[in-house]
C-alpha cells in the first residue's frame, strides 16, 4: 500500500481538515440552538463557553483547509506541462481541460471552489469571535444569534459545495506525484 506525497497532502486537506470541518458544523449548530433556545437550561448556557472553544477549533480547521488547498495543492493542480508532454496525468488542470467531457470540472468546479471556499473561514471566524465576546449573554441578543447561525449555515453550504467539487476533481484528475510513501506491506497470494 503506497501513497504519493501529493496524494497524502490532498488527503490531509480534504479528508482531514475539510471533512472534520463538515462534521463539526452539525455539532456547532446543535450547540447554538441548545444554548440559546428559549427555555435553555443553565447547563445549556454553560455550554456556551465550550461552544466558543469549539468554534475556534472549527475556524483553525477552516483556515488550515484553505491554506493547504491554495498554497500546497493548488500549485500542483495548475502546473503547466513542458511543451510536447503527451501524458497529462501529473498536470490535473490540463488533463481536465483536454477532454470536453471533463473540462467543466475545472471551468466550473475548481473555479468556483477556489474562491467560494474562502467564505468558510471568514464566516466561522466571525461566529467564533462573537461567541467568545458575548458568551452566555448571546442569548440576550437574538438578532446577533440569528446572524451567527445564518453565517454558520452558509459556511456549511460553501464547505459542502467545495467538498463535493474537491471529491469530483480527485476522482477525475487526482493530484499525484512526489515521493512514494509506503503505508503497509501486503502479502503476495
Amino acid at each position: 500500500m503506497e501513497i504519493t506525497a501529493r496524494g497524502l497532502w490532498t488527503m490531509i486537506h480534504g479528508m482531514g481538515f475539510g471533512a472534520l470541518y463538515l462534521l463539526a458544523c452539525s455539532g456547532a449548530l446543535a450547540q447554538i440552538y441548545r444554548c440559546c433556545a428559549p427555555g435553555a437550561t443553565a447547563a445549556g448556557r454553560r455550554g456556551q463557553r465550550f461552544l466558543g472553544a469549539y468554534l475556534v477549533v472549527m475556524a483553525v480547521l477552516a483556515w488550515l483547509t484553505v491554506f493547504t488547498g491554495a498554497y500546497v495543492i493548488y500549485p500542483w493542480y495548475r502546473a503547466l506541462p513542458p511543451a510536447g508532454t503527451s501524458n497529462l496525468a501529473d498536470f490535473p488542470q490540463r488533463l481536465l481541460m483536454s477532454n470536453p467531457a471533463t473540462i467543466g470540472w475545472h471551468s466550473i468546479g475548481m473555479e468556483w471552489k477556489e474562491y467560494l471556499a474562502w467564505l468558510v473561514p471568514i464566516s466561522i471566524t466571525m461566529a467564533a469571535a462573537v461567541c467568545l465576546r458575548y458568551g452566555p449573554s448571546l442569548r440576550n441578543f437574538p438578532q446577533l444569534r440569528r446572524a451567527v447561525l445564518g453565517f454558520i449555515w452558509v459556511s456549511l453550504l460553501a464547505a459542502l459545495i467545495a467538498g463535493f467539487f474537491g471529491a469530483m476533481l480527485v476522482m477525475h484528475a487526482p493530484v499525484e506525484g512526489g515521493a512514494a510513501i509506503r503505508l503497509m506491506q501486503g502479502e503476495m497470494p
Binding site: Y74, L116, A147
Partner: protein, 112 residues
C-alpha cells in the same frame, strides 16, 4: 433573581457583534469582486499574482482578507460602545454574503 437569568455587563452592546457580522459580509463580498476583477481585466490579474505557483488566487484572497480585517477593525472602533440597529446590519451582511456565493459561481460571473 432566577438562576436562569443572564446578566448583561453594562459595557456589552450589540456594536461589537454588528461590526464582526458586517465585516464578514464585506470580506466575503471582496473575495467575489476581486475574483471577478482578476478574471475580467488582465492588468488586475497580473497585479494579483503575489505568489506565482498559486497565481491570482494568492492576491485576490490576500487583499480580501486584509480588507476584511481592516473593515472589522474600523467598525469595531466605531461601534464598540454603541448599540447598533442589528436588523439593517444583518440584512446588509447577508445580502453581501449571498451575492458572494452567487458571484463566485463562474456561469454567473461570466454574465457580468
Amino acid at each position: 433573581m432566577s438562576k436562569d437569568t443572564v446578566l448583561i455587563p453594562k459595557t456589552l452592546t450589540s456594536g461589537s457583534g454588528a461590526a464582526a457580522i458586517l465585516a464578514a459580509g464585506i470580506g466575503a463580498f471582496l473575495v467575489a469582486i476581486l475574483a471577478i476583477a482578476a478574471d475580467k481585466f488582465p492588468s488586475v490579474r497580473s497585479l494579483m499574482i503575489f505568489y506565482k505557483p498559486t497565481g491570482p488566487l494568492s492576491g485576490v484572497t490576500t487583499c480580501a482578507l486584509i480588507g476584511w480585517l481592516v473593515a472589522w477593525a474600523i467598525l469595531e472602533g466605531l461601534w464598540r460602545r454603541r448599540s447598533v440597529a442589528l436588523g439593517w446590519v444583518n440584512a446588509i451582511a447577508f445580502v453581501l454574503l449571498l451575492l458572494s456565493l452567487l458571484l463566485t459561481f463562474p456561469p454567473i460571473a461570466d454574465l457580468l
